[in-house]
């Protein structure tokens, strides 16, 4: 019995220390992220962007849109892509063996005509059938291929692309008009940059005009509201912080900008993961470090991409389950970088963090909860201690969320109404009083499922379909 008590006590201490370290780390990142936002906001002025538009010192961009069965939204999405504010770019849509009317809708809306084309197939993909060009928008190319998954569709798009920068997006991403402009600027300013990630924000509740959000308002459900807070935290504090530390592991699949050659050199997207966006970034780090090539992968908060976040818990849980399985697959694949000094901060900081606090986090939290309950039942734990500790955990989480909400308030395009800001405050609390625990549970289940691979393949095909 003494042994059990000691074990429980030991684990409790571990959990407390774990969470204390975690929160302190969050705080450090968050501060780094905030500093990055402050400095970054002064680095790209409007005059600079105007110069970029009016002179021709920019790099042309190929926007890559993988699509699967999206007849209802594809025309609107592609329509917004072709109307971006950028001097020279092309939009390459790849229908991954869609079985609905996706292709027909595109053909009608954009006056597509088939064009026999010869192109360099540097990445192996499933066979590509028709390649069509739009008569109305000369930069729009639409290809149809045999179904092979999102990564495969992206690789096919990379093969078809002809510009030095590529921007893989989700088919339901709504890019801010200046997103590409602001992101591509970073490639001009620094030769070593191989990839740039931007901010992803939830468009739920926003009023649209001309296909873009103009007035931001709170969406109706608390699930959506909590995700707004979560995304603010993840991007303005998380990604910004990692980027400033030079150890960014993820660029969102919803919007990223990459040097085409760099992606081709490492072999394009990997088709065996549901987290292909993160895996590519990790592989870019790994291969470039191995080859001794200096490279930088950065996050900039300025380029903004809007996406629809799930409004119901079921869809949200499936999404997070998928993300977590992808995370585990990717971390396992690149385990050689772990604590490997050759990979610099990625190996020594980012990998351990992601393994300990992201991948194993749900396990530790769930066991922690069980241990505490057990200790409570046995009687070795003072209920006051437990309550205080739980309150502390919630307060820490909420504090960071409030900082993130504060950063969001500094954007020109922000939730302007006072009531909306107060609702966001509330959502920050609500997240830690239920949703966080629910999603931790989901990620815990995902960790167990990852070993079995059941449901893995079925999910893969749908990674890219809007789930709202």
């Amino acid at each position: 019995m003494r042994a059990v008590e000691s074990a429980l006590a030991g684990y409790q201490v571990f959990v407390i220390v774990y969470l204390a370290v975690l929160n302190l780390l969050y705080a450090v990142f968050a501060y780094a992220g905030l500093r990055a936002v402050i400095v970054g906001s002064r680095q790209t002025s409007d005059v600079e962007l105007r110069d970029l538009l009016e002179h021709d010192v920019y790099k042309p961009v190929s926007i890559l849109v993988p699509a699967y069965n999206e007849e209802h939204s594809i025309v609107a999405s592609v329509g917004s892509f072709v109307r971006l504010q950028y001097p020279r770019f092309e939009v390459i849509v790849v229908s991954d063996g869609s079985t609905d009317r996706t292709m027909d809708r595109l053909i009608d809306a954009f006056a597509l005509v088939e064009e026999p084309r010869v192109w360099a197939r540097r990445l192996p993909t499933k066979p590509v059938g028709r390649v069509m060009r739009s008569l109305r928008y000369p930069g729009l190319v639409v290809a149809e291929k045999e179904n092979g998954g999102k990564s495969d569709a992206l690789n096919a798009a990379i093969n078809l692309a002809r510009y030095p920068l590529i921007a893989p997006v989700d088919s339901d991403s709504v890019l801010d008009a200046q997103a590409i402009l602001r992101a591509s600027r970073l490639f001009v300013k620094d030769d070593a940059v191989v990839a740039v990630g931007g901010t992803v924000r939830a468009l739920n509740g926003a009023e649209f005009r001309g296909g873009r959000p103009v007035d931001l308002r709170m969406p109706n459900t608390w699930v959506e509201r909590m995700q707004i807070v979560e995304y603010a935290r993840a991007f303005f504090l998380g990604r910004a912080g990692w980027s400033r530390l030079g150890a960014l592991l993820i660029i969102s699949g919803a919007f990223g900008l990459f040097r085409r050659e760099a992606v081709l050199t490492v072999g394009g997207f990997w088709t065996e993961t549901v987290g292909e966006d993160m895996e590519l970034v990790m592989r870019l780090h790994a291969e470039n470090a191995r080859a001794g090539r200096p490279h930088r992968i950065v996050f900039s908060p300025d380029p903004i991409c809007w996406t629809e976040v799930p409004a119901d818990v079921g869809t949200l849980r499936r999404q997070r389950n998928r993300w977590h399985r992808g995370l585990l697959t990717n971390l396992w694949r690149h385990r050689r970088m772990m604590l490997n000094p050759r990979h610099g901060r990625i190996g020594m900081l980012a990998m351990p963090y992601f393994v300990l606090f992201e991948a194993l986090g749900p396990l530790i939290e769930v066991f922690g909860f069980l241990m505490f309950t057990l200790a409570l039942v046995i009687g070795t734990l003072n209920p006051h201690t437990l309550w205080l500790f739980l309150i502390l955990a919630v307060l820490h989480g909420v504090l960071l969320s409030q900082v993130a909400i504060g950063v969001e308030a500094m954007l020109l395009q922000r939730y302007g109404r006072l009531t909306d800001r107060l609702i966001l405050f509330g959502a920050a609390f609500a997240e830690f009083l239920g949703l966080h625990q629910l999603l931790t549970m989901e990620r815990f289940l995902a960790t167990l499922q990852a070993g079995r691979k059941r449901g893995h393949w079925g999910e893969m095909r749908r990674a890219g379909i809007p789930s709202g």
Binding site: R50, E54, R83, A177, Q178, G210, R212
Partner: protein
Amino acid sequence: MAAILAIEDDWTVGVVLEHTLRSAGHDVDLVRGLIDGREALTTGQYDLVLLDINLPDGNGLELLRDVRHRFGRALQVLVLTGMRQEESVVEGLELGADDYVTKPFSPSELLARVSRCVRS
């Protein structure tokens, strides 16, 4: 004198346009994007449109195409373009713009071109 619709997103340029044209006696409505521009064209009556090419919600030349489609040559269109964008100027003129002004511009030159357009 003339009723002018200015479609320009840069607010300094907008103020300069408003001031310059109003001092010369014209009526000016200033909007900041293509969508507002389209709305204004449906609800208002204008003699001349001052159209910036680089707008945040799209390329001004799109609107030019629509304007020529809807109003024919009855509505004068003057295109505002950056100094090195020769291609846009040519494209604009081909699409039916009546004249162009490059940015940065001199207010007196702008007035002269506007007057010429309005006269014809």
